[in-house]
């Protein structure tokens, strides 16, 4: 009890420091303090932090105790970068989060890149590189860039962030001008995928008797987007191929635990569009992920499985005043596309209304209401887990989210 009180006290103190810092620094011109010079090179550092509160009616969501109201929704990051020559730059970012049982305050190297741009139409990046997939995969952690406190989870699940967020390897990228037909931007990449032992696969796996210890795998793919064919219009497509191994263990008898190994090919395709006109931004994305797998439990061939999950969302955001933006989205996710979508186990729908207030240039506050229908399969690992919902899940979840973020 004392340790809980003490931890709560530290959280409140930490939050107070963040908010006081945000209030004080948010009103200042912070950019004067984000550069310093070493040996004639300008080094920039930037950072962000956010704190959220979620309160739901029945089901607990995203591993938080949201039915009681939860502040366990904190994240942040800092980066440093420098331009070494006209064409060559290096940088790195550390990211940390504590969202319920996810992240658990274990900092990770978010990205660390060396980037050489030969021409506008050809450059290379190497290191740990943020993966381009759809509109917002690489910016999903930066709440201050988005209208919504929680992005559509059909596309950007907070629990499975690590499986798409970055790869260790290399990219080729560039932008090709098409004169009066806008421009084409491309990215191609290959490398090894990220793994988060404090993420949804490990946490959700434990609930269904699979204790995941590692998920080594490769990741390669690409993205092609056409900007400004019509002024303000963007559309594109992404593909990501991930052959990987899931190393786990499972209990087969009261005192017998066997290694459980799954080999799967996880392939994702996404199509997306964005249209910006005046103060209005319209977004839409569709994603299909197929997984084909074979598995062994100890020496025994455990057979294979296949699933085809799909999701989409459409969103609209409108800036009604200089510092006020209103938005809404409809997000839909189906874990087993080829089966009936009616049961709550085979869909998660989320209808959202949101308001974002930019209190200063560097500090925002969001208020958002989610109306969710369905909760997906135990293997979906999308927000709803048995650990936080031991009495079972209700078909509908309403949730209020308040989130504030600060960046410099």
């Amino acid at each position: 009890m004392n340790s809980k009180v003490s931890r709560m006290g530290r959280m409140v103190l930490g939050l107070t420091v963040i908010v006081c810092g945000a209030v004080k620094l948010g009103a200042q011109d912070i950019s004067n303090y984000t550069n310093f010079t070493v040996d004639g090179k300008t080094i920039q550092f930037h950072g962000f932090a956010s704190e959220g509160f979620a309160y739901s009616n029945d089901n607990n969501y995203l591993t938080m105790n949201t039915s009681q109201g939860s502040f366990a929704m904190t994240d942040g990051g800092v980066n440093v970068s420098t331009q070494l020559t006209d064409n060559f730059r290096v940088g790195a970012q550390i990211y940390d989060r504590n969202i319920g049982e996810l992240g658990k305050w274990h900092p990770t190297l978010d990205w660390a890149v060396a980037d050489y741009k030969f021409r506008d139409w050809f450059g290379i990046r190497a290191g740990k590189v943020k993966t381009v997939l759809g509109l917002f995969n690489d910016t999903q952690d930066m709440e201050f860039l988005h209208t919504f406190a929680i992005l559509p989870q059909s596309m950007y699940p907070l629990d499975l962030r690590a499986s798409t967020i970055a790869h260790t390897g290399g990219d080729v990228y560039g932008t090709i001008k098409l004169k009066k037909r806008g421009d084409l931007s491309y990215t191609g990449y290959a490398g090894w995928k990220s793994y988060d032992k404090y993420g949804g696969y490990v946490y959700g796996g434990a609930a269904v008797g699979i204790n995941v210890t590692s998920m080594p795998g490769r990741q390669f793919g690409g993205d092609l987007r056409w900007n400004n064919l019509v002024k303000g219009l963007l559309f594109g497509a992404s593909v990501m191929l991930s052959p990987e191994t899931v190393n786990a263990s499972t209990q087969v008898a009261p005192t017998v635990t066997y290694p459980y190994t799954i080999w799967w090919n996880d392939n994702t395709v996404a199509f997306y569009t964005e249209y910006k006109v005046g103060n209005l931004i319209l977004d839409g994305e569709y994603r299909r992920e197929t997984v084909g797998a074979a598995s062994m439990v100890g020496p025994i061939n455990n057979g294979g499985f296949y699933w085809d999950e799909r999701g989409w969302y459409v969103s609209a955001a409108y800036r009604v005043a200089k510092r006020l933006e209103l938005g809404t989205y409809e997000s839909r996710y189906y874990p087993m596309w080829d089966q009936s979508h009616t049961p709550p186990t085979n869909h998660i729908y989320d209808t959202v209304a949101a308001a974002k207030v930019e209190l200063t240039d560097h500090w925002d506050l969001k208020i958002e209401e989610h109306f969710m229908d369905g909760y997906g399969l135990p293997y979906s690992f999308r927000g709803f887990y048995p650990q936080e919902n031991p009495d079972g899940l209700k078909p509908k979840t309403d949730m209020l989210v308040i989130r504030t973020g600060w960046n410099f």
Binding site: D29, S31, T34, Q44, H46, F48, G77, N79, S81, T82, Q83, D86, N87, R89, G91, A92, Q93, W111, A112, V113, D115, K117, D120, R125, V129, K130, D138, T139, M142, F144, L145, T175, D183, K231, K276, R319, K322, E358, D361, N407
Partner: protein, 140 residues
């Protein structure tokens, strides 16, 4: 009917004159290392959106003002984004490791001083601003 035609003609002339006045209010300046004497509006937009880092084969970097009438007019006329949208755009690049934040200064004098001393720098000031040691680029 004649009154309407006259009104429309006067309005058109006024709009044309105002748009030219607005264009003339901004002076695009560059460091003397930038070889070009002119820049197209598309190139200028690409420079400030960081989608190109060269003009006429020379490396360039954008320099911004932190606010003001000239800044707002420049963004509207040449970049096509509001201050807020541009800030979001820059931050999306900075926090994903794809670019550094461009330099920005509180006053036109500081913009002009930085452009004068920094190889490849391209900035903007109001047409009447004194900006010594820099070249003025014609925007086509």
């Amino acid at each position: 009917m004649k009154h309407i035609q006259f009104f429309l003609a006067v309005t058109a002339v006024a709009i044309f004159a105002l748009s030219n006045l607005q264009a003339a209010d901004i002076k695009v300046i560059a460091n003397s290392s930038v070889g070009a004497s002119s820049i197209s509006a598309d190139e200028l937009k690409d420079v400030f959106l960081l989608t190109t880092s060269s003009v006429g084969g020379a490396h360039v970097e954008p320099v911004l003002a932190k606010g003001g009438v000239t800044h707002e007019a420049f963004l509207k006329q040449y970049v096509g984004k509001t201050e807020s949208a541009l800030s979001t755009y820059y931050r999306s690049l900075v926090f994903t490791g794809k670019a550094s934040m461009p330099k920005s200064f509180a006053s036109e004098n500081e913009v002009a001083e930085y452009v004068a001393k920094t190889k490849g720098a391209i900035g903007y000031v109001s047409a009447g601003a004194a900006a010594s040691g820099v070249k003025t680029l014609d925007v086509k």
